[in-house]
């Protein structure tokens, strides 16, 4: 017998954003953790329906931003007082007001890096392939259909019961997706 392919999980298709919204509430209340919703456009309030906790991105940005500002200041302090102590327009070596623009800009730069690369890392991007693309149906997630995927690695996952749950949420179709 050929080796049975492992299952990534279940994919449910919905026709409207409202159907998806209420389905998300049911999946959330059933206590699943490893699942996601896929929509062609942002659906307001979906994070509440999904019970998502707020992102840790702001904290990454905060740490990166303050590090950038601190390093930016130290860079200028070091270069103008230790490495190249030159008197410029009769000002002291450590002319800290003059360091503010670069300090500010480096704070912004590293903060922005933290936001963009932190977001990519948390989303595990870039990724060359994702199991959900094995589903032909799924290509419509960027067109006119709404999807919920529940992964088989979720401890609550059970092929039969999870399928029943998704069917009870008014899904237009439910299918198994291969790894």
């Amino acid at each position: 017998m050929a080796k049975r392919p492992k299952h990534y999980g279940l994919l449910a298709e919905y026709e409207t954003a409202a159907d998806l919204y209420h389905a998300c509430e049911k999946v959330r209340d059933a206590g699943y953790g490893a699942w996601d919703a896929h929509t062609p456009f942002p659906v307001h309030g979906l994070e509440k329906a999904m019970g998502l906790r707020s992102s840790i991105i702001p904290y990454i940005v905060c740490v990166m931003g303050f590090s950038g500002a601190g390093l930016g200041f130290l860079l200028q302090y070091w270069s103008s007082t230790i490495a190249y102590p030159l008197i410029i327009s009769a000002k002291p070596y450590n002319s800290y007001p003059a360091f503010v623009p670069v300090t500010f800009e480096l704070g912004i730069l590293l903060g922005a890096f933290g936001a963009v690369f932190g977001m990519l890392a948390i989303n595990k991007l870039p990724q060359l392939h994702h199991s959900l693309f094995n589903s032909h149906r799924f290509s419509k997630f960027s067109d006119d259909r709404f999807f919920i995927s529940i992964e088989s690695r979720d401890p609550k996952y059970d092929a039969e019961r999870t399928r029943k749950l998704l069917e009870s949420t008014g899904a237009a179709a439910v299918e198994e997706v291969e790894e």
Binding site: P42, H44, E47, P97, A98
Partner: protein, 412 residues
């Protein structure tokens, strides 16, 4: 989605946006008007032989009050110009804040016509005669054109505020709200241009010319930064108080508080940005005719006040308003609203008082009862006009085409 509310009843219920007959808000205009007039009367009676103290306190208070009115005008105009949806439910409050402009105009006239000699050194002919710099600036800094300019600014502000206020309130009962919406949007762009020019030159005339040798082209923007942060704070504070009295509940929501908090945060940072830009270029170029303005603010008590201002006006609100939770909680947001309203006064104090103190060589801050009485006087009169405006019409623009969008607004 237009017309959908006809099937489900009105979007906003009458009792949510109109004061009940026994509401304390109905008594506010009389009460605060009386406090304001009495307080200004007391201040005038305490004037004493040296009128310059009285006028400097009065100017500080009036410029603080003006920043709320101008902020309200800007808020209203810019929301029309960018066709903002989120702000419709708080726009009427901004409109009532800008309704104080005609009254502030009356409060500024004494500064221009009675107090100018005690405040503005360049109005003295003998000072002009011995000062080449002032002579070079005479084409702009002379009493005739100073008065004419003041009347022009005040007339334009009054015209803009009364026009937009009456269009918006007429829309509430108009058969067809669309023409008013189009008219307000069209004229808001013209209004913004007029606003930018008049605000800039008014700040030059009434604040910058306290020290007529000094100049800073960014000065108008500096004053504007305060206007926008104080008006967002005033709007949010008003809504918090209205919620407590049972009005606007479910109309102005946490989402709107969050957005107003963002404006407060952003314009505290903007103030820091502009304030530093002004300081930075002058410090870096180090030209004596520009640096002295900061030099006497860097001595004695004034240095303490300058450093305090950086923290009160920028650093503490920056840290304090950063969190989403703080902006979405009416208690913590209310705290920062009061903070910013007070900080704007501190800023005006820092702009006005050192310029006059340094003429006598004083490095000391001398808080005076006049500072308090003029502030209470101006604030009382402004609150009276504002609350009078609030009860004249509904608390939200009832027939604005984007009202439904604003009611359903959510931050994602």
């Amino acid at each position: 989605m237009s017309g959908s509310h006809d099937r489900h009843g009105p979007l906003v219920r009458h009792e949510q946006v109109h004061f009940a007959d026994n509401s304390p808000w109905k008594k506010a205009p009389m009460l605060f008007g009386a406090i304001g007039v009495i307080s200004l009367g007391v201040a005038f009676a305490l004037k004493g032989p040296d009128a310059s103290k009285f006028w400097s306190s009065y100017l500080t208070a009036v410029m603080w009050g003006l920043s709320i009115g101008l902020g309200g005008l800007f808020f209203t105009l810019v929301q029309h110009a960018v066709r903002a949806g989120w702000s419709i439910v708080v726009r009427r409050i901004a409109e009532n804040l800008m309704l104080t402009l005609p009254v502030v105009a009356l409060l500024i006239l004494p500064v221009v016509f009675l107090g100018a000699h005690d405040l503005f050194h360049w109005t003295h002919a003998e000072a002009m005669a011995h000062d080449e710099v002032l002579q070079a600036k005479q084409a702009y800094l002379n009493e005739g054109s100073f008065r004419i300019r003041a009347i022009v600014y005040l007339a334009l502000w009054s015209l803009l505020s009364l026009t937009f206020w009456s269009w918006s309130t007429k829309q509430d009962t108009a058969a067809d709200p669309a023409p008013y919406a189009h008219k307000m949007r069209y004229w808001s762009t013209v209004g913004l241009l007029v606003f930018a020019l008049t605000l800039t030159f008014a700040a030059f005339d009434w604040l910058m010319s306290l020290d007529p040798h000094w100049f800073s082209t960014i000065f108008g923007v500096y004053y504007f930064a305060g206007c926008f942060s104080i008006v967002a704070s005033s709007i949010a504070l008003t809504v918090i108080l209205l919620h407590r009295s049972g009005y606007l509940r479910g109309v102005v929501t946490t989402e709107h508080f969050h957005d107003l908090g963002k404006v407060m945060f952003a314009f505290s940072v903007f103030w820091g940005y502009i304030g530093f830009s002004q300081f930075f270029l002058i410090w870096y170029a180090s030209i004596p005719e520009e640096t002295f303005w900061f030099s006497y603010r860097g001595q004695g008590d004034w240095l303490t006040l300058s450093i305090l201002l950086i923290f009160v006006r920028f650093a503490l609100p920056f840290v304090g308003l950063m969190s989403r939770k703080i902006k979405r909680n009416p208690r913590t947001l209310g705290f920062w609203c009061v903070w910013i309203i007070v900080a704007e006064f501190l800023d005006m104090y820092w702009l006005v008082q050192p310029a006059l103190a340094q003429r006598t060589g004083s490095e000391h801050i001398r808080p005076d009862v006049l500072d308090l009485t003029t502030l209470v006087g101006v604030a009382g009169i402004l609150v009276a006009v504002f609350t009078w405006g609030l009860q004249r019409h509904a608390l939200v623009p009832m027939r604005d085409p984007r009202l439904e969008e604003s009611l359903n607004h959510e931050n994602s």
